[in-house]
């Protein structure tokens, strides 16, 4: 591989891995901070139990 190819690969992978870990890591951390009743320990429920009726 040429140096320029390694540089492009390294830069792009760094950016993508950084933001993936930053954002998905926060989602994972928020998961472990809440206990959901009746769910697996640590799972955070995200939805309302049911859609509201039509207006």
């Amino acid at each position: 591989m040429t140096v320029s190819a390694w540089v492009m690969l390294g830069l792009t992978w760094s950016v993508i891995v950084f933001f993936t870990l930053r954002f998905f890591g926060r989602v994972l951390r928020s998961r472990s901070s809440v206990e959901a009743p009746g769910g697996a320990p640590g799972d955070e429920p995200v939805s309302r139990p049911g859609a509201p009726g039509r207006s």
């Binding site: 190819a5 993508i16 799972d43 939805s47 139990p49 049911g50 039509r54």
Partner: protein, 557 residues
Amino acid sequence: MPPVSARDSWATRVGLVLAMAGNAVGLGNFLRFPAQAAQNGGGAFLIPYLVSFVVMGIPLLWVEWAIGRHGGQFGHHSAPGMFDRLGRARWLKYVGVFGLFTNLTVAAYYTYLESWTLAYVWHSATATFRDVDPAAFFSAYVGTADGGLTAIPGPALFFFVVTLILNALILSRGLGRGIELAARVGMPLLVGFAIVLAIRGLTVEPGDPGVVASPLEGLNFVWEPRMDGLTSPTTWMAAAGQVFFTLSLGMGSIHCYASYLDRRQDIALNASSAGWLNEFVEVVLGGSILIPIATAYLGLAAVSGATGGGSGFALGFLSLPTLFQNWGWFAPLAGAMWFGLLFFAGITSSLAMGQPILAFLGDEFRVSRRTGALVFALATLALGFVCVWLYPGGAFDEFDFWTGTFSLVVFALAEILVFGWVFGIDRGWEEITRGAEIRIPRLFRFVIRYVTPAFILAVFVGALVQPAEGAWNAAFASLFAGEGWPLAPESVIGRVFHLGPEDAAWFDAAGRPTVILVQDGTRLLLVLVFLAWAGLVHVAWRRHDRPSRAAPPGRER
């Protein structure tokens, strides 16, 4: 049994993000991206690609999540109802018809493609490709071996039906116990398979059985920047198009998944998380498997030729099954892992196509989830049968272009304009940022209102008038010289008017049907399907007889 949406909900936040990421991650992450990058400037392709991701991909993700969550507060989990709630004009709900039409028609051919991966898992695991040439196998499998326009290949139909049954069964279990469970199992397996294959592929060396070049030559082909590509509109169009399609934008499925959120639930972080997860799978994993392995065993010249059209399909289905045979005892497992990861990528996407259909039938016609899943499977089978039967005549490609490409861009352009200009950027911004767990720069107000629509418009116009061989500079020179615009046969206009073939007749001199008849017949079918959806929406709104368009409790419109 209650209608679909009355009980459905996401069980966990991670499950939601994985389902959204699974919706975005598809076969294109592994087959299309590496070929597009290699053929459009290599490492330089990633510059317009990431620019497009930031100014078009991420803003559109936020907009689609916001439209979905907003519609969900009114009990709407499919696009027509959501768009109806974005303004007072009655025509808005018909914009949402795209969100039903696209999902069903893309599902028709996409689940057929997905069924190929399932069949290839079986044939890889049972070592079929040790003795059979994959190219000959493929032609027999889809029925193109005898050169006719039609075929009813039994094994292909069998795996297609099995795939549809799997989809329907998962959909009938609902969001938490069906779609979310599939994503929570499928996505980690997909990533695990991809990592194993990438490591195995990148560590073969010249001197190993069958190896003719270093796999790093293939990686170099994908990543070496050819900066002259940056000044080419073709590179920018390709990059914007790849970002657009890889995120499953303009489908209506993101809206649907987001509609099951609370009105104060975060959008900004969840959407960003799902979007960047897709980029990880596409760029880091997708770019490290297909082309490096193929280059190691076929050489760079052959790989460059095979990816010339910007697709890695031929390498993925016709070459890799043979190349894996060089890996000894690991060959059946490698084949099963490769097609297995493609299958997981496919099914997490096709489930996202089914849910909006179920939601629409449930919301508007009080159809139960199980019945909705059955209706979706049967409708997909009926339309998909056209793709199977007329695959040799080109019906599959027509579905792919008009529903899987053109329709998405039209819907995305319409939705970003409706969101920024009809719903209004002030309300839109409030919708996106409410409950946000990350701060979104205010610059994105401007981006959503002006830059993203301009980007999508450029992609749309570019596809409409794409010049021959993608030579934009030469096309403008020709135009200014008064010699007209050299339209490419594969441009939208070129396709509509069948540019390219000298004789675009429905029947040949001997009175036999031609490919043109198949193409036009397929287009007519797609138009009828769109009109049928529009008719259903019309009927649904007449049945509602809604007395008011009031906001739900605690919310001002």
